[in-house]
């Protein structure tokens, strides 16, 4: 089964030029870093150590923002007894970036147990980030016991339904989606009919050349359904985005970086700032992965995203907290 999933992930089903080797080149597992540039649907990857060789033009960007994910404030088990400390390290990393990000996207699991004090701690730590605006979508750990009521009260101002919304920054259209509510027995993440209708309407009037960034907690592609790492109705959501030249999908949930290109869509998952999880099928369960303390920060991280000059180019850079 594991082997089969690997093939599904790594083969070029869409004849988009991203074969197994190309995919591996651009798949930045936790602990490594990759700089990916997409121009006209063609993807090139560079290791972080080669970034100094790149020309300023290659590095120039019109819009820069950072994605963080899965801070799990309140988690205190062996895999990381100090998740506040590693979130602070992520903020330091953000503040040390050569290009100051305009804002931060948090792709959910802000808290571990949806406790008010857990959300408060994250809010407090993120106040020290150079980027002042933080845009959130909930993870399943943020909507425990109350179907997301508290999350909406804290972060859902101006959002629709269970907390979905969109906004525009420098010509890029951002869409935050919620796929962690009303989960059905045996199923995966769910967007639901109401949200899908809203999405169709939200992007209907945009020009095809508008770069789109969609962010949600659970991956909107089938990473590993056996562990629930996928979203039931993501195909329908993506069908509304087919007309656009550049679509970037940013997710969290799986606590490791992974990337895949399918036609016009680049999928990317961010590392956690709290604890790593095993590679798909490489353990009995997706529970927290324990690594030696001195290695922990090398498997946690942040994701820096740059909209490079030209309408079809977004660059995604993962860096660890080490």
């Amino acid at each position: 089964m594991v082997g089969k999933m690997k093939d599904e992930l790594l083969h070029d089903h869409n004849h988009d030029g991203i074969d197994r080797r190309g995919f591996l080149k651009c798949m930045a597992w936790a602990g490594t870093g990759a700089f990916c540039v997409i121009r006209g649907g063609v993807l090139s990857s560079y290791s972080l150590s080669r970034m100094r060789e790149m020309s300023p033009k290659e590095m120039a960007s019109e819009l820069s923002f950072v994605q963080i994910s899965d801070s799990h404030m309140g988690f205190n088990k062996l895999a990381n007894p100090d998740v506040a400390g590693t979130l602070k390290a992520a903020v330091e990393k953000i503040n040390g970036l050569s290009v100051a990000p305009e804002f931060i996207l948090h792709t959910g699991d802000i808290s571990h147990l949806s406790k008010p004090e857990e959300f408060d701690t994250v809010d407090q730590i993120l106040k020290d980030a150079r980027a002042k605006d933080v845009f959130y979508v909930p993870g399943e750990h943020d909507v425990l016991n109350d179907d997301g009521k508290q999350f909406l009260e804290r972060y859902g101002k101006g959002s629709k339904g269970a907390g979905w919304y969109s906004f525009d920054k420098k010509g890029v259209h951002f869409v935050g989606l919620v796929n962690v509510l009303n989960l059905k027995a045996g199923g995966l993440g769910t967007l639901g009919h109401e949200q899908l209708e809203w999405l169709e309407d939200d992007v209907k009037h945009l020009k095809h050349s508008t770069p789109i960034v969609v962010f949600a907690h659970i991956p909107l592609w089938s990473v590993y359904p056996e562990w629930g790492w996928g979203t039931e109705d993501s195909a329908q959501a993506l069908s509304y985005l087919k007309k656009f030249g550049s679509v970037t999908v940013l997710n969290g949930h799986i606590h490791q970086t992974m990337q895949k290109v399918e036609g016009n869509v680049t999928f990317h998952t961010a590392a956690s700032t709290a604890f790593p999880q095993p590679q798909p099928g490489k353990a009995d369960s997706p529970g927290p992965m324990k690594v030696p303390a001195e290695q922990l920060r090398s498997v946690l991280g942040i994701t820096d995203v740059n909209s490079v000059q030209g309408p079809h180019a977004l660059a995604v850079v993962d860096s660890t907290l080490a």
Partner: protein, 117 residues
């Protein structure tokens, strides 16, 4: 002399009787308590046992032994736990016969059932 022998025999018989009673009590205890039949452990993102059969009136207790929180939620609404952090428990008494499928609402791939007879 004869009387003392009689008392001694009676005494041995009494002791044997107590031992026999104690033994029978010990052997009958598991049938009355059914300790393993009422426990479900949550381990490694799965419910164990995945299918539990119990008589009507049994109280089932779930214990989360994972590092990650889970819930115990009946698919048809018969019962629903609050979120269970590590080592926290949830109990429900099954008053009616039937099959009760349930899952973890945080990790819906985790499914199991209780069969009440």
């Amino acid at each position: 002399m004869r009387r003392s022998v009689f008392i001694a025999v009676l005494g041995v018989a009494t002791i044997l009787g107590i031992v026999a009673l104690a033994a029978s009590a010990r052997y009958s205890a598991p049938a009355q308590q059914k300790p393993e039949a009422t426990e479900v452990k949550i381990d490694n993102f799965s419910f164990g046992p995945g299918a539990l059969t119990v008589p009507v009136g049994t109280m089932v207790t779930w214990t989360n032994r994972d590092d990650i929180p889970h819930t115990v939620v009946s698919t048809d609404g018969a019962f629903k736990s609050k979120v269970l952090d590590t080592d926290e428990k949830f109990s429900f008494t099954f008053a009616k016969a039937g099959t009760y499928p349930y899952f973890c609402s945080i990790h819906p791939k985790m499914t199991a059932k209780v069969i009440v007879q």
